[in-house]
């Protein structure tokens, strides 16, 4: 770490910080409440965006903002750290704005060698430089060193601490490799399974292609056979056509003769029906013949009967008038007659009485009734028409028979049976060709479908065959991945044992230089990286004091820093709280060898100036946290620092 700058972070009002020359031991001195722990927390917050109090509770941003700054209306605090990692320089700057409605998420800006990093790159860079899980071994509070005592109890030990230790030692590189090789093998085996399915599919495709090829050959034979049959039938037609052509005219006349015969037969049948109708009409024709002769007599009779009927009517009227005049009352309605009426009736009666009366004979009526059915009904005219039609039919038939006889004489030399057979065979051959054409068309369509299926199958076979080379490479990749996983699996245990041995050796070496008890010879590491103190006889020392625990914890931290895969600054806050002067002196002398860069945050009660004077050669620089007021501390370079 080459720079740490804070703006309104905690007790640190305004913008201030530390500029550092690495490597070496740096001492930050300050009384309680002046901001030693705040410096440690500022580094944690800048890296991880959060920090906790000694009870493990995450401290909210609004509490972190400097109180004086808040009173002056400022609402933002910032921490900036510059770190060197090998040849790369990283700048990390985290800002927190607190609006009236509450704090927004903090914002981290990072750059590597002057180039800004993306969000993902920022997270990875921090994880690489000093991951949060391993930070407890670099940025630690001396008051909490007793946590490492948990490691002594393998069953109840803190898993997180153990994981952190293994991470700092670099064991995850093997664990991750093993897990990733497992993932790679899973994927390769999936591909192998797919390839196996592809092989099975290839076999199925081969069978399908063979079947399609056989179907195609069968269909070709079928089409060829149908084609030959059609050719034969065409030959039949050609032969019959050649034969029939010789009798072409006669055949036409035969057809004409057949038409004539059909016509004659029709006329005969029609005439028979006409004769039936004529017979029916003739039954009524006599009326029409007699009607002309009877008509003069009928008219005479009708006149006579009419006259007689009128005479009867006048007689009845005269009787009624006579009766009414004599009785002075109407003979019909029985009403009394007025004088005028009677006079009028008398005059009327006198007029009729003077006329002659004629009585019709009974014979006239009978004769008239007998003559009534004898009238002209038109049947005679219909009968005459039918008779005329029948006569025409006879004439037509006669003409047709003459034509027929002429044709028959002309066709006497025609081989009628042969011609008829030839025509029948030709027609049959024509029908057969029609059937064959349909069959050939259908077979050709089926052949095209089979051919299309065969082509598709061949394409699939070509694609499947193209993967043969890939299958061999896949098999080699699986072998290689399996070998690697076996090697990493075996190496993991061995590497962990080597790391434990190395940590145990380093911790023992540090412990011997720190402890005030010469009888304590070494530390023994357990499966959880817990350290037991062994005496000169190799026996475990039980009942360890709080000070001894702190020394063991510092030994473990020193051993981990020595064996860590990566180097990082160590920031120790108040590490001497439980230690006696001998231990304190031993540790102070050791601090320069703990890591390449060490920050010691202490107060006057822990470490006195004369203690620091004894290690003045190891101290690169001293800083003093000076009180301005209860809300403000300034960082000052100490005199003689």
């Amino acid at each position: 770490m080459t720079s740490l700058r804070l703006t309104d972070f905690g007790i640190f009002y305004g913008n201030q910080g530390l500029t550092l020359l690495q490597p070496g031991l740096y001492v930050v001195h300050g009384h309680n409440g002046r901001g030693k722990t705040t410096l440690l927390n500022a580094i944690r917050w800048c890296l991880y965006g959060r920090y906790s109090d000694r009870q493990g509770r995450v401290v909210p941003p609004e509490v972190t903002l400097n109180r004086q700054a808040r009173r002056e209306g400022r609402a933002e605090f910032v921490v900036e750290v510059i770190l060197l990692d090998g040849s790369d320089e990283y700048l990390l700057r985290r800002k927190q704005f607190i609006s009236p409605s509450g704090p927004a998420p903090s914002q981290l800006y990072a750059e590597r060698n002057g180039s800004p990093l993306t969000s993902g790159e920022r997270e990875r860079a921090i994880d690489q430089i000093l991951g949060e899980q391993v930070s407890q071994f670099f940025l630690f509070d001396g008051e909490q060193l007793q946590r490492y005592e948990l490691l002594l109890h393998e069953d109840g030990g803190s898993t997180l601490i153990k994981q952190g230790i293994e991470q700092i030692l670099g064991l995850p590189i093997i664990d991750n490799s093993l897990a990733d090789l497992g993932s790679v093998l899973d994927e390769l085996n999936k591909r192998l399974a797919r390839e196996a399915r592809a092989t099975e599919q290839l076999e199925r495709l081969g069978v399908r292609a063979e079947q399609a090829q056989a179907d195609l050959e069968v269909k070709d034979s079928e089409i060829a056979l149908l084609g030959r049959e059609r050719t034969e039938q065409r030959s039949v037609i050609a032969a019959k056509d050649g034969f029939l052509q010789k009798y072409e005219n006669q055949i036409e006349q035969v057809k004409k003769l057949e038409t004539l015969d059909e016509r004659i037969a029709y006329l005969k049948q029609n005439r028979s029906q006409l004769r039936g109708l004529l017979a029916e009409e003739l039954q009524e024709t006599w009326r029409d013949v007699l009607a002309a002769a009877v008509d003069p007599k009928r008219k005479e009779l009708e006149r006579t009967v009419e006259k007689a009927q009128r005479g009867v009517s006048i007689g009845v009227l005269r009787e009624l008038l006579e009766q009414s005049v004599s009785q002075h009352r109407c003979a019909l309605c029985k009403q009394a007659l007025e004088a005028d009426d009677e006079l009028q009736m008398e005059a009327e009666w006198s007029r009729h009485a003077a006329g002659t009366s004629e009585t019709p004979g009974t014979g006239d009526f009978v004769l008239l009734q007998l003559l009534a059915p004898i009238v002209d009904t038109g049947h005679a005219r219909i009968a005459i028409g039918l008779d005329s039609t029948i006569a025409d039919s006879h004439s037509q038939e006669l003409a047709l028979r003459q034509e027929s006889s002429r044709l028959r004489e002309a066709l006497e030399n025609l081989p009628e049976g042969e011609v008829s057979d030839a025509q029948r065979y030709r027609d049959r051959a024509q029908q057969e060709i029609g059937r064959l054409n349909t069959a050939i068309e259908q077979a050709t369509q089926e052949r095209a479908e089979i051919d299309e299926r065969l082509q598709r199958t061949r394409d699939e076979i070509r694609k499947a065959n193209a993967n043969t080379g890939q299958r061999m490479e896949l098999a080699r990749a699986i072998d290689l991945a399996q070998n690697l996983r076996s090697i990493f699996g075996v190496a993991k245990g061995q590497y962990r044992d080597q790391l434990r041995d190395a940590v145990e050796a380093s911790a023992s070496e540090v412990f011997r230089s720190l402890t005030n008890e010469p009888e304590f010879k070494k530390l023994r590491i357990n499966g959880s990286y817990g350290l037991e103190i062994l005496d000169a006889h190799g026996d475990e020392v039980g009942g360890r004091s709080a000070g001894q625990e702190q020394v063991v914890a510092l030994s473990l931290i020193a051993a981990l820093n020595r064996n860590a895969r990566r180097r990082a600054p160590v920031v120790m806050d108040t590490p001497f709280g439980r230690l006696d002067p001998i231990h304190r002196g031993n540790i102070l002398r050791f601090l320069g060898h703990l890591a390449e860069q060490v920050f010691l945050l202490v107060h006057g009660g822990e470490v006195r100036d004369e203690d620091l004077a004894k290690i003045a050669g190891d101290i690169r620089e001293r800083f003093e946290l000076a009180r301005v007021d209860p809300d403000r501390t300034t960082i000052e370079v100490a005199a003689g620092g």
């Binding site: 093997i174 990733d180 991945a481 076996s486 090697i487 590497y495 080597q498």
Partner: protein
């Protein structure tokens, strides 16, 4: 401060020798370089697995 930290490459080469498995030269170093990003972030792990797959496939092609 002397650097006598155990080296995973040595542990892996020893294991390969012990198991009589011959690996392509530099393969272990290549894998460890890939796996040096120990982030547990899902996307990082996915990326590393994909890179590891490529390394193994490439090396497998060159095998006799």
């Amino acid at each position: 401060m002397t650097d006598n930290r155990p080296d995973p490459i040595h542990a892996l080469n020893d294991a390969a020798k012990e198991m009589h498995i011959a690996l392509p030269k530099g393969l272990i170093e290549e894998i460890l370089e890939l796996e040096s990003d120990t982030s547990t972030e899902h996307s990082t792990r996915t990326r590393t697995v994909a890179a590891l797959m490529r390394v193994i496939e490439t090396r497998a092609k060159l095998l006799p």
